[in-house]
Symmetry: C2
Subunit: 335 residues, 2 copies
Amino acid sequence: MHTIFFENKPRIIATGTIAGPKECAGVVGRYVDKALSEDTFGESTYEKAECKMLSYAINQAIKNANLDEKEIDLLVSGDLLNQIISASFAARDFDFPFLGVYGACSTMAESMAIAASFVNAGYYKKIVSATGSHFSSAERQYRYPLELGNTRPPQAQWTVTGAGGALIADMGGRNNQKSYPAITSATFGKVVDFGITDVNNLGAAMSPSSQSTILNHLRDTGRNADYYDLIVTGDLGALGSRILKDLMWEKGVDIEPNHVDCGEIIYNVIEDEFQGGSGAGCSAVVFNSYIMDKIKKRELNKVLFVATGALLSTVSSGQGESIPCISHAVAIENL
Amino acid sequence: MHTIFFENKPRIIATGTIAGPKECAGVVGRYVDKALSEDTFGESTYEKAECKMLSYAINQAIKNANLDEKEIDLLVSGDLLNQIISASFAARDFDFPFLGVYGACSTMAESMAIAASFVNAGYYKKIVSATGSHFSSAERQYRYPLELGNTRPPQAQWTVTGAGGALIADMGGRNNQKSYPAITSATFGKVVDFGITDVNNLGAAMSPSSQSTILNHLRDTGRNADYYDLIVTGDLGALGSRILKDLMWEKGVDIEPNHVDCGEIIYNVIEDEFQGGSGAGCSAVVFNSYIMDKIKKRELNKVLFVATGALLSTVSSGQGESIPCISHAVAIENL
């Protein structure tokens, strides 16, 4: 059994989101708390801009919940940068404990799952889970200097500049408790490696791991895929999403009618982005703004959020390793 | 309240440890499951050796518990390498879910705290928490190429080559349950930054964060420092340990009689190690071999294990940032 169940129904009482200009030209532009007009966010380096976005998202989630920083018990966060410096330095801005995680682009679901686990068990009352990414800091770290103007292959994705946070809380039976969506279960993923070594084709590398986690979730919960109004993955991109649908179909599960991928939908106009968005910020922004808006409006009532991560580094790729991947899932329901 | 309490008393039913030749010349040599005669562990790169050590420690903890891999529910692990590749690639060797964490050298306590939280809440029955480090992969990543033969300043520490894992389980009231030490509470730390920028003096940078976590733990539990037979920090080193004792003394708490630091005690003979050991593997090896042996023999019955981490990266230091630090604590008791 990979799935854990939350009988006390921890609630997502608020979210906070911020995204760059390129991202806000797309679907999330109308839903984020802050749309940046320039991607440096007034900072001198892209890494500092990334950290500031993450700090903004955490702070905004607390504000949107009408809470004070003093009322927060814990931050669960991580990011893509070496030694998760965005999360660690963002955590320095706050006076509550910090639990650092690393799940590459699966971090949003991983941190939500931990937060829901802790709130459900009664350890803490109010936890912020958050992550983010920045196109330019990711390019610099994982790929080439931007100044080089490298061309990108058609299977590539574009790292999202943005951050998102969710405030997960036990509302202690307050009257309005049921108005907030509940996290009802979480499925932690296994590492799945299909031997793909192309670091420009992370969608293909990650899709078998998302298949594994979704199948385990459905098995553990005894549900069919159509139980959910939406199975939202992130960030497989267009190609990875197609591969996932095929892989699920091979196992006799049709997710074609109710599946979207955060990476596939984040950019309206595709120029250099090819397969769409990626990065820990991709699913963090899309889920916490656009998808959460539809959940709060009850246009969606049962959502399985499956964030997907590629666990490579420049060193592992340089040493000829293939790309192990992981996906974590959380079920969010209006009930 | 930063501390969470585990009423169902998750137990450490076994540990697995491995360490390099330099480490095994010291106090842990008699206690580890495997003492390496050469630090490459038969691998072609130091990174692969680090991953293999971590995988060994996980596997050995399972074996020492007389369990089969199939009975394990979850691995909670992380390490110092960029994108925690040692943990991610080690997790690939196993067929159970993986939760990746990053807390630099605080990882052993962080992963034990999460594992105990999940077992106590009844989400999973058997969880392995583990971490490790390797001198040569850490030097390559954080400092200089080994071939350069850089001299080290006297305040420096030496990254431990080794790995340790603990199997944390709910024994479900079996007769022999009380023979295993229980994790009774955990205190997640806040990020504390005292503005230190010397990357060779991590002991000084980390000691205020360990002070913060220990004080919060004592406040939350209503205990005096002498409640514990041992308050074991890792990896402050000799200088950091002295600073911690001074900082605690300033707050009216005397830990001089019952405090040791894993970094300070791991090497018997100090040549180039100066302040002693560091690295995620330092406290992982010392706690899971030497200290756990004393707990199992009931020479120690109440231990507060406080692993300390410096959350810097080469990028953050290069951009002129100071060093934020974090310490997480778990209380282990024979009862």
